[in-house]
């Protein structure tokens, strides 16, 4: 066991963890942040995406101890209180959520894209969600949601 101190969604957590524990299990089982999902546990489905040091990464392919020193943002850290992030709002409005299992990862990927690019092309949106599997929506509504969120964010910024 080693003591891991990690800042997750601006809150610092210290826990003893075995070296074999993935960041995904740490988030879900130790910290109780179950928004991040386990779909395949092997890098294929994207469900476990969280931001580490500001970049989307697969928490199932990362040891918890390897995250030390980096800020982690999970889906629980995206809304500010009751105010949904524009990407979350747009996901609801565009019917981009069915069973919801992929949604946390889709939102994390979308937020990261729009933080770095306020007018993504169709191809950029497609690429951003290209490695996150959704078995329900057929992806079109998710793409529409990200474009719509981009519009909302541009409006907010430029008034």
């Amino acid at each position: 066991m080693k003591i891991l101190t990690l800042t997750i969604n601006d809150v610092s957590h210290s826990k003893a963890v075995p070296p074999t524990m993935t960041l995904l299990d740490f988030l879900r089982d130790e910290v109780g942040l179950t928004g991040t999902k386990n779909g395949c546990d092997s890098g294929e489905c994207g469900c476990c995406t969280v931001m580490v040091g500001g970049k989307p990464m697969l928490s199932c392919l990362m040891l918890a101890l390897d995250a030390e020193g980096h800020e982690v943002t999970t889906i629980e850290g995206i809304a500010k209180g009751n105010d949904l992030h524009p990407v979350q709002e747009a996901m609801v409005e565009k019917g981009a959520i069915q069973c919801g299992y992929c949604t946390p990862a889709m939102v994390i990927n979308g937020v990261h894209l729009l933080d770095n690019n306020d007018s993504p092309t169709d191809d950029e949106v497609k690429e951003c969600i290209s490695a996150t599997v959704c078995r329900c929506t057929g992806y079109n509504s998710i793409e529409r949601a990200i474009h719509s969120a981009a519009e909302k964010m541009r409006e907010k910024q430029h008034g």
């Binding site: 989307p56 990927n109 490695a131």
Partner: protein
């Protein structure tokens, strides 16, 4: 709860000196160890129990190995540079756009944010019989690569054969690096040495790298090609994201001479050269290099695409690469 990994000790040295001490301690104690950089290749192996080190040494703390710099007409790429950084770096995009493109073709955006170039040239060879979960692998006897006594792909294989295992070489960045004549800096028990990237690769799917246990690659060095040179990488996959190359073809044209590098088609990468003086005309030269490349390919039915299809796509991809290069030039 997720797939369980067998227990191991974990160390994350922050300097090459600390790393050297750790490695020598492990050696003295007779403890098996493995390195993890981005971990995107090795963590699945730990989960599927095809690898069980006593000690995992994370290279992630070696910040000095994460850099890209230009020295004269050469570019030095630290081995811990992520594939995302490589694909988006101004020096790489400016001088080696084909390398940026190849790095961008690996896996997925989330994986490229974590995976390193050192890990990519070291990525383990793959086979459908070994790259499965432990539960699936239990359905058949362990094969040679899992310390067993059969090969499910080549049933006649037996211990003592020249090549025991046919697991495929799959790195997406290796072909372009090989075409650029890349060299690697390696740090080991006896100090640092340099070698051609091409000498890293061996012919067996199990022992497929020439590094000594404990050696680490610290940097990759490539010459910036002259203006008479152009390169292109083309990859065959079912999906645009996530798939390893069913076949990957790098093409280099330098002042009329053509070189081709292959991935995904054999236990090691292939590299072929042809120059105009040796042939009656350009078409003959291309026919020759296509034939050589097809000869080299040892395709088994171990992929989504049937083996004959993969083999027959080699000349198609070589010509496609050439067309692309010629189109970009004109």
């Amino acid at each position: 709860m997720s797939l369980l990994m067998q227990n191991f000790d974990y160390h994350r040295p922050t300097s090459l000196e600390d790393l050297t001490v750790l490695v020598s301690d492990c050696r003295k104690g007779g403890r098996a160890f493995a390195f993890s950089a981005g971990g995107t290749d090795i963590i699945p192996q730990l989960k599927s129990d095809t690898l069980h080190p006593d000690c995992l040494i994370s290279l992630g703390g070696l910040k000095d190995l994460n850099h890209i710099e230009k020295r004269g007409n050469r570019l030095i790429i630290g081995s811990l540079t992520t594939l995302h950084d490589l694909a988006n770096n101004d020096l790489i995009r400016g001088y080696l756009p084909a390398l940026a493109h190849a790095a961008h073709k690996v896996a997925s955006p989330q994986i490229r944010n974590r995976a390193t170039i050192g890990g990519n040239i070291m990525v383990d060879n793959r086979c459908i019989y070994i790259n499965q979960s432990e539960i699936n692998r239990e359905c058949h006897a362990p094969c040679f690569k899992a310390d067993g006594d059969v090969c499910h792909l080549v049933k006649s294989a037996k211990r003592g054969d020249d090549i025991l295992c046919q697991a495929r070489f799959v790195s997406d960045t290796a072909p372009i690096l090989l075409l650029l004549g890349a060299r690697i800096a390696v740090m080991g028990a006896n100090g640092t040495r340099e070698m051609a990237l091409n000498d890293l690769y061996l012919r067996d799917g199990i022992d497929n790298r020439s590094l000594e246990v404990g050696d680490i690659i610290t940097a990759i060095e490539v010459g910036i090609p002259e203006n008479d040179t152009a390169l292109h990488y083309e990859k065959l996959t079912i999906r645009n994201a996530l798939d390893f190359p069913s076949l990957g073809v790098g093409v280099r044209v330098t002042d009329g001479a053509v070189s081709v590098a292959l991935t995904g088609l054999n236990t090691l990468p292939g590299l072929f050269h042809a120059k105009p003086g040796d042939f009656d005309n350009f078409d003959d030269m291309i026919d020759h290099i296509c034939a050589e490349a097809m000869d080299f390919a040892k395709t088994y039915n171990q992929d989504f695409f049937p083996r004959h299809y993969r083999k027959n796509m080699i000349p198609v991809f070589i010509r496609r690469g050439l067309d692309k290069i010629i189109k970009d030039k004109s």
